[in-house]
Symmetry: C2
């Protein structure tokens, strides 16, 4: 029996660049990224199975009943959830899996799947976070203020995670996550039985 | 100020190749390797400050009294010890430090310096360990048997370590240790105060 895959749960405040980091990571490494389900309608340009699996409300509720979500939440009347069976199947096959997920979702997964590796992507500084959000050009002064306050609150959750990776340069952040994956596979408490079984 | 260095304590059964791995690691990475003190006489070819610091018994006993060893042991009438002040100074300056040390010594350091990162170098298999020890050509059948039994006992101590690295290929083992060093610098419980202090 080979060792099973590892579940990486990656969060961070909006603007920390977790999407960019995850995208660069899956391009370089043999990691499978889980796609969430949602009941909201696709936006222009969104692709089924890439951005989300777009499913009907009834199906979503049905899958909640069958406990087929690692976590789910209702936001502004729409459901969002992480499908369980597919993630567990990949892990069972020995594949490493990434979930890029918000902090509330990550904390729910931490209680249901504590074996996961919880990584928090940090902006290098609040100034840099402000620059990144401002450069998107879609914020009013008021919404920028709200987002910065929200990010500040979110950063305090970093202490609930196993690792914090400062996203100064994307390639450096990716290398750190790759190192975390390698190191976690050497952790004695995870591999003890398999390793000592050889001798 | 700034993050301090990390202490890597590297052990493993004789024949696992920990010496080769440590040598390759310090050639590649900016890590300082601690040199032990001993009261035994230098052997042919051994260099003061490289293999050991060769010191007199009185000086060794004096330094024990001054608690200047992270750990020490007496083996066949000779003392061996890891100098404390130099290691702590390097760590304080932010340098990562390796101690290549036997299992008993490592376990002593674990109780006196639990912040250390304890890495156990494993042979890929008992067969391979036997080959490596045999290929040195210096063993009689009897001493080989003793060494293999001793190695077998030692391997059971792997469970006391944080990480186990199988030394199949030296360069792979070195990469894994480098990954462990990088990952440990991202561990939230170590960097929380410094990291959250920025925000």
């Amino acid at each position: 029996m080979g060792s099973k895959g590892q579940l990486l749960v990656i969060s961070g405040p909006s603007g920390a660049g977790k999407g960019t980091v995850c995208k660069a990571l899956i391009e370089k490494s043999p990691i499978w990224i889980s796609t969430s389900c949602t009941t909201r309608k696709p936006r222009e340009g969104e692709v089924e199975g890439v951005n989300y699996f777009f499913i009907e409300r009834d199906e979503f509720l049905n899958r909640i009943d069958k406990e087929d979500f690692l976590e789910y939440a209702e936001v502004y009347g729409n459901f969002y959830g992480t499908p369980k069976s597919e993630v567990l199947k990949m892990l069972e096959e020995g594949k490493d899996v990434i979930l890029e997920i918000d902090i509330q979702g990550a904390l729910k997964i931490k209680s249901s799947y504590p074996k996961g590796i919880f990584i928090f992507i940090m902006p290098p500084s609040m100034e840099e976070l402000r620059n990144r959000i401002t450069n998107r050009g879609s914020e009013t002064p008021e919404s920028l203020k709200t987002r910065m306050e929200c990010a500040y609150d979110e950063i305090s959750f970093a202490s609930k995670y196993d690792y914090a990776v400062v996203n100064d340069k994307v390639e450096d952040a990716v290398k750190k996550i790759e190192s975390i994956i390698v190191a976690e596979k050497c952790r004695v408490f995870k591999i003890k039985d398999e390793l000592l079984g050889r001798f």
